[in-house]
Subunit: 308 residues, 2 copies
């Protein structure tokens, strides 16, 4: 089978750190082009300043990975789908829920694959955690996601703009895991969002969810954590406690701890290839819907200004 | 056919003004009970202080209309569905999107009807407006919804709480019409929400949407309007301008103006009876999803305190 000719659109930190190495490591794909108005791209690979320019001048492309900020993804995705290209959306899949729903029906109409990716679902401990929880009674869940925004998002102004999600940008990773491993749907009961006086998006959040059987799920998000970072999910069940730490990489069950290699982006690209070959899409908006619910229903509290 | 024995839960302004008269006027229903912790109910009709009490002591009920504030609807709906009762949800159908999605699958599981009602869709001009627009090219849409909150929501504290939606409580009526009459889906591009310094929910909003063909849709919501009130939707098309005014009651087409009788709640109950008889549900979250998107992506601007 010929490899899928893919263009990476938006050559920022996540594209260089994750997408380009994952594409290079997967024989189902060949990197056909990069697209960025500023970044020079990758040596030896055709580069265009815009998706327009790429479509006009070639080379031929079968699929695009959209690694731009979410606020501009919709138009790029529509443009790509209109040419019959398959589309990989970095998380979150859009700046609004409605645009993702609209994209989904557009992809269906043109018969192209749309993949709303959630990289944390491919962390090593997630699949076994899901399997272990599938037939257990969930009693209580605690999510603690505390990191230093200056380390992980240095100078990224877009992340503080409306649509950039603030601390929910990492927090949605936790939600993508929890909605995947818990056997029942969850919904929000109440939330407090802490917004720096000089920004539009929250720097911290405290959220109460519960699942449809009533089990409480507490989430603690904070971007002001210096020192050790925390990306932990603890699930108490009728048969003991499950803990996912390091963002899903390390799984601890009552029987012991499993460490496995980080395969998030390789896992995503394997999934994208399989969706394309199977003529299917995968668009789960549940994590973004929970974040929208937090903005819709949360109390807002103004806190100290944040400066990079 | 025996009438559907219905209980009205939450006997506030909307129940007395609209639900009770609409039920009294529809032979498919008989009012079997009212439920309210404070309100004395209706003379000659059994009354319970809570849904628990009604379920424990009877009379037998086939369906409930939930007219409580949205923040408490989920638990009541789950309780009713668990007894196999059909559920009519006032708008908005919940305080969060995720709980409505969860309710929808629960109703499906127990084989009961769930009806997420949008009363403005039953305003007299809406069905003919939808028919007229169905094969026209939409060029531009303007929504102006300006009313005096002191007149329409006197002293209703819950509407200013998180989950109460503020000016989107009436604004969602406009969105329920627009999403119903426009031939293409729409999504949000940007929004400014004006929040009184002493409240959690917006008193005004300015929002830019567009449809999936690119037509701009502007919405102007304001709760500080004294004097004449405005509930107008103007749709410019390639074959002239359509105007819906008075909240959808009055339709003006290039050929002239149609006035018709207000049949919103009678229309809703006719629909609910038909859904129950047909074993179907009707849960369209699109209007609430657009509101969630406005909270997710909107700029917030603090404005003067609001006091009733």
């Amino acid at each position: 089978m010929d490899p899928i000719r893919i263009a990476v659109v938006g050559v920022g930190k996540i594209a260089r750190d994750q997408h380009l190495p994952a594409i290079a490591g997967n024989k189902a794909f060949s990197l056909a082009a990069t697209v960025s108005p500023r970044d020079p791209g990758v040596e030896g690979v055709p580069h265009a300043k815009s998706l327009d320019e790429l479509i006009a001048n070639g080379p031929a492309i079968d699929a695009v990975a959209l690694c731009t900020p979410p606020q501009v993804r919709y138009d790029l995705a529509v443009q790509a789908l209109s040419k019959g290209m398959h589309v990989f959306l970095e998380k979150p899949p859009g700046a609004t829920l409605s645009e993702v729903v609209a994209l989904e029906s557009r992809a269906e109409k043109v018969g192209a694959t749309l993949f709303a990716s959630w990289h944390s679902r491919f962390a090593a401990g997630v699949a076994p955690a899901r399997a272990w929880l599938s037939d257990r009674k969930i009693e209580k869940v605690s999510i603690v996601w505390r990191e230093d925004v200056r380390v992980w998002h240095p100078g990224q102004a877009w992340i503080w703009e409306p649509g950039g999600l603030g601390v929910f940008d990492p927090g949605i990773n936790a939600l993508s895991i929890v909605t995947h491993i818990l056997p029942r749907p969850m919904f929000l009961q109440g939330a407090t969002l802490e917004i720096p006086a000089n920004r539009a998006a929250p720097i911290a959040a405290d959220i109460e969810f519960r699942d449809t059987a009533g089990a409480p799920i507490h989430m603690d998000l904070d971007w002001r954590q210096t020192g050790p970072q925390s990306w932990d999910i603890v699930v108490e069940t009728d048969e003991g406690t499950l803990k996912l730490s390091n963002g899903g990489a390390v799984l601890t069950l009552p029987s012991g701890t499993e460490h496995a290699e980080d395969m998030e982006y390789p896992g995503l690209y394997a999934r994208f290839a399989s969706l394309i070959r199977g003529g299917r899409s995968d668009v789960d908006v549940a994590p973004l819907r929970l974040v929208a619910d937090a903005f819709l229903r949360g109390h807002r509290k103004l806190v100290d200004e944040f400066h990079d």
